[in-house]
């Protein structure tokens, strides 16, 4: 290989690499300048009504996670104009979460504050790990779950159907979904912003899921003040559930 072709190849590779890094910087939430300050006085309601409706995807993790998420959703006051049905992700076989959310939706459809979205969409993804699974089975199931999650979201991306916001509060199932959405944003298929709410049960330390998801979240909310002091980018506004 002579010197000219070598220079050519390396410069192409370098340009490609720096383009990738540049893209990563653009999509990386930690490096973007979003105002992380909230005006908690709601005098500017007129502004919100002129906003474009948003597509919202909500993860219902399981047990306590689903419980906390429903407590949060039940406090929504209809300030958020939604485009299309509210979308939910549920682990396949998690019949309790499905039951709870359908009950919640039934109750809130009677509530005038939340009147805007009569239709709901449910997306099922396979469980990452069943209780009592061995390590190899768990590993296989995790990869399988990751693949299915990615495939489903990729297809949504091809149809231009990815949500504007992904709201989640754990457990581990949130990770494949969030990273798939982040990757799709990286390659330009989507633009989903990720909002994570740490469980109330985490008082002094973030959960592993929280730590892993923190770098790619656009907003990260905690429910105890000491966590917001301890970790960068964590926001605390009081107990949310």
């Amino acid at each position: 290989m002579d010197e000219i072709t070598f220079t050519l190849y390396t410069s192409v590779a370098l340009i490609f690499l720096s383009a990738l890094v540049l893209r990563l910087i653009i999509v990386f939430p930690a490096t973007s300048k979003s105002q992380r300050e909230l005006k908690l006085n709601q005098n500017e309601q007129t502004k919100t009504s002129s906003l474009n409706p948003v597509k919202l995807l909500v993860l219902l993790g399981s047990g306590g996670h689903t419980g906390e998420m429903i407590r949060i959703l039940s406090q929504f006051q209809g300030k958020l104009p939604l485009y299309g049905p509210r979308q939910y992700i549920i682990s396949s076989g998690d019949s309790t979460s499905l039951l709870k959310i359908t009950e919640f939706e039934k109750a809130s459809s009677n509530n005038k504050k939340q009147k805007q979205n009569p239709q709901k969409q449910y997306m099922m993804i396979p469980r990452a790990r069943g209780i009592g699974d061995g390590k190899s089975v768990a590993l296989y199931k995790t990869i399988h779950s990751f693949a299915i999650t990615f495939q489903k979201l990729f297809q949504k991306g091809l149809h231009g159907d990815l949500p504007d916001f992904f709201l989640c509060n754990g457990p581990g199932t949130a990770i494949p979904i969030a990273y798939s959405l982040f990757f799709l944003k990286f390659i330009g298929l989507g633009h989903t912003k990720i909002i994570y709410v740490e469980s109330l049960a985490r008082v002094n330390k973030l959960s592993l899921t929280g730590l892993l998801i923190l770098p790619i979240t656009d907003r990260f909310l905690v429910q105890w003040p000491q966590l917001a002091k301890q970790y960068r980018r964590c926001e605390y506004y009081g107990m949310l559930v």
Binding site: L40, L51, Q77, K79, L80, L167, V197, L200, Y237, M239
Partner: protein
């Protein structure tokens, strides 16, 4: 003095699935039942014991060990509920003063306690929690919040040390620091027998001390005014999303 006792209810909730053996044992103990019935004047005790099959066996076993029930047959309804009524002797000392004599008469009455055991109720808050004077609960965030959001209901949390993921203690401590509840860490002999407990004290003694601590705490909480918890701020999430919409 009214002859009829006012309804005063104590709810014990152990969570939906996991059997919280220690908590059920603390509650279905004759001494505890005697205390809440004759001294604290509870008329109703509701125990939500969870859907696993060994919970029901445990409840049945403990009920049959209570002297007032021991010779009766305990039957569960198809939905896992059972109701037992117990009576406890109460001695009230009344001092009557007349001009010349001062007579002290001891009256023996009986206090009735209705114990209702249920598997689970999807409407636990509306049916039981909100109607209770005191709730003794496991340390799950769901149960804690359900109770704290009911005005006027006192909460005592019992930690399940058998659960591996012990954020339970963290969360109970954090809430106790806010002054909205009190908590108890029971002595669990399965775990602690192996440890040389407090410089060679007998396990039985430590367990007895821990139980009487629990009884004192129940008396304390029964008569305690807690701070109110601040309302939930979940609608902040809407504002967060809106502020990202620009």
């Amino acid at each position: 003095m009214s002859q009829k006792q006012q309804r005063k209810q104590l709810l014990v909730t152990t969570g939906a699935t996991v059997t919280f053996t220690k908590l059920i044992e603390l509650i279905l103990h004759p001494t505890f039942l005697q205390l809440i019935s004759s001294k604290l004047q509870y008329t109703h005790l509701v125990i939500q014991y969870g859907t696993s099959s060994d919970s029901q066996q445990l409840v049945e076993k403990l009920l049959s060990q209570i002297p007032q029930i021991s010779n009766k047959k305990i039957s569960f309804k198809p939905d896992g509920a059972t109701t037992q009524t117990l009576t406890f002797p109460v001695t009230t000392t009344t001092t009557t003063k007349t001009s010349q004599t001062k007579s002290t008469s001891q009256q023996s009455t009986q206090s009735r306690l209705e114990i209702k055991c249920i598997l689970f109720d999807t409407n636990l808050v509306a049916n039981y929690t909100s109607k209770s004077h005191l709730v003794i609960s496991h340390a799950g965030t769901g149960s804690i919040l359900d109770t704290l959001r009911c005005p006027g209901v006192r909460l005592l949390v019992v930690i399940n040390s058998k659960l591996l993921d012990n954020h339970q203690l963290d969360i109970a401590e954090a809430f106790a620091n806010m002054g909205v509840l009190k908590f108890h860490v029971p002595f669990d002999d399965d775990i602690e027998k192996k440890i040389d407990w407090q410089g060679g004290k007998k396990v039985d003694d430590v367990e007895r001390e821990s139980f009487s601590d629990f009884l004192k705490l129940v008396e304390d909480v029964d008569d305690c005014e807690f701070k109110k918890i601040e309302p939930a701020k979940g609608s902040v999430i809407e504002d967060v999303i809106l502020s990202e919409c620009n």
